[in-house]
Each structure stands twice: as C-alpha cells, then as structure tokens.
C-alpha cells in the first residue's frame, strides 16, 4: 500500500525578503529551504514551515518573461493583492495568546479571535495580501 501526504504548498508573494521576515519573525515559522539557483536566472526556492512540522509553504516570487507575460503577472498581482490567490489555515493551541503576540508585532488582522462551531478562529494577511487563518481547534478535535 503506497502512502501520500502533504509536503509543500505555495503562496505568491511580491517580495520574498519581506515575506520571509513576516513568516519567521511575526508568524513564528522557520526556514525549511532557501536556495538561489544561479543557472536558473537566480531563481530562489524559499520554503518555510512550522517548527517540528515537515510540510512547507513555498514563498514564490512571480516570475517575469519568458515564464509569465506581463498580463499574467498583473493578473496574479491583482488576485494576490485582493487576497484571492490562496489561503493557508494554521492551527494553534492558544489562539488568543498567539493573536496578542502577533498583533503586538504589527500583524494586519482581518478578524479577531471568534468562537465558531469548529474552534476559536481569527484571520490575518501577509504583506502581499494573502489571506491567512489561525484556529484553535476544540480539545480532542
């Protein structure tokens, strides 16, 4: 029987350095991989993840020509700016404490911790506009 599991997912970002600082300094993730490949036009593979968890978020710069034409780049930037280009759902064991900690660091929250049927949930954005969620699941969930 073969297996399958989540390894990595990707978010577009408009500035990889800014995104890296946000996800490590403010969200509390750590660098999984940060490799710049000279023979690929200095393409930078930048992956972060939660401490102790293998799955990564790849913070991907929007490539220029010839990979993406100007119109495509603009469409992605527009979707990203509106927060429609992807979402990551984080989980925490203490949503209010984590919210307080991140808010004190200047994180742009879209929703304060709110009780929902599936736990205590809040929302925030990264510097590129990506919509992120953080939930404290009920004990035993």
């Amino acid at each position: 029987m073969t297996t399958i599991k989540m390894n990595a997912t990707q978010l577009w970002v408009h500035d990889q350095d800014e995104a890296l600082a946000f996800y490590t300094d403010k969200v509390g993730l750590e660098i999984h991989e940060d490799v710049t490949v000279a023979e690929m036009g200095n393409f930078r593979w930048l992956a972060v993840g939660a401490p102790g968890q293998d799955a990564s978020i790849v913070l991907m710069a929007i490539p220029g020509a010839p990979m993406f034409d100007d119109a495509t780049q603009g469409e992605i930037r527009s979707l990203m700016g509106k927060g429609y280009a992807g979402t990551v759902f984080f989980a925490t064991d203490d949503c209010r404490a984590r919210y307080d900690e991140m808010a004190a660091k200047g994180v742009e929250f879209t929703q304060e911790p709110t009780e929902t049927p599936y736990g205590l949930d809040c929302g925030f954005r990264d510097p590129s506009g990506n919509h992120l969620r953080m939930v404290q699941l009920p004990q035993g969930a």
Partner: protein
Amino acid sequence: MVHVPIERHLVRGRDLADRRYTDPALTVDDMAAAAGLSKAHFSREFKRVFGETPRGHLLTRRMERAATLLRQTDHSVAEICLEVGLQSVGSFTSTFTRHFGRSPTRYRADAPPAAVYARIPACVMRVHGRPQHRTFGEDGKGGQA
C-alpha cells in the same frame, strides 16, 4: 522597488468594513483612510476592482452577518439589526427582504443552520453567504459611494 498593486491598498479598506461592520458610525471615509487613499479615488477603484461600491460592500456584509445570526442564534430581529450596525428595524427588514427574497422572520423559519452539516470555516461561509442583489436605496445613486 517592489510594485504593490492598488488591490493591496483597497483590501485594507474592505477588511475594515468586514471587521467593523457592527459599528454604525463606520463610513466610506474610514474605509478610504484605512486604504490610504482619498475617498473619491478609493470609491472609484473599489468599484472597478471589486464590482461593487464600498458602501454596497459594507451593507452586504451586514446582511450576510444578519442572515448568519438569524440561522444560528435566537436573537430577535431588532437585536440583530443593532448587532450588524444598523439602527432602523424597518429599513433593515426591507433591505434584508430585497437581498434574500424573504423577511428576516421567514428566512429564519426556512433556513437550518449550516453548521449542522459541515465544519465550514467562517471566512468561507462569509464569502458564500453574501447576498447578490446590490440595487437598493442604501447603496447610493449611480454606483457612487
């Protein structure tokens, strides 16, 4: 220099409406200020990018939330009117009826709570619960904010 699209600024104004819709004093000026744009520029670009006026977005956010409260709480219609940042129950009832095709009382009687069926994240319910109709008196005239 990194190019930051106008959408990134506009979404800050939209987020403010989504976050502070319970405040009856919230205005389009506040949304524009959150976006760091003049009211006229903000309103024009908001309509172009999101397809509705800032004021229309705020009202549909309130209607979506009212519908959720009708489904998931036993609060009275008058209480829910106030909870979503509106102050006239008569106006709330007629606006809700235009959006959902039923009065708040009828809507409550017809709609079972969505949470009975699935653990759908609140942000998803908020987007998909937003009513479609945008032609109503509270949305100003001629698409202006």
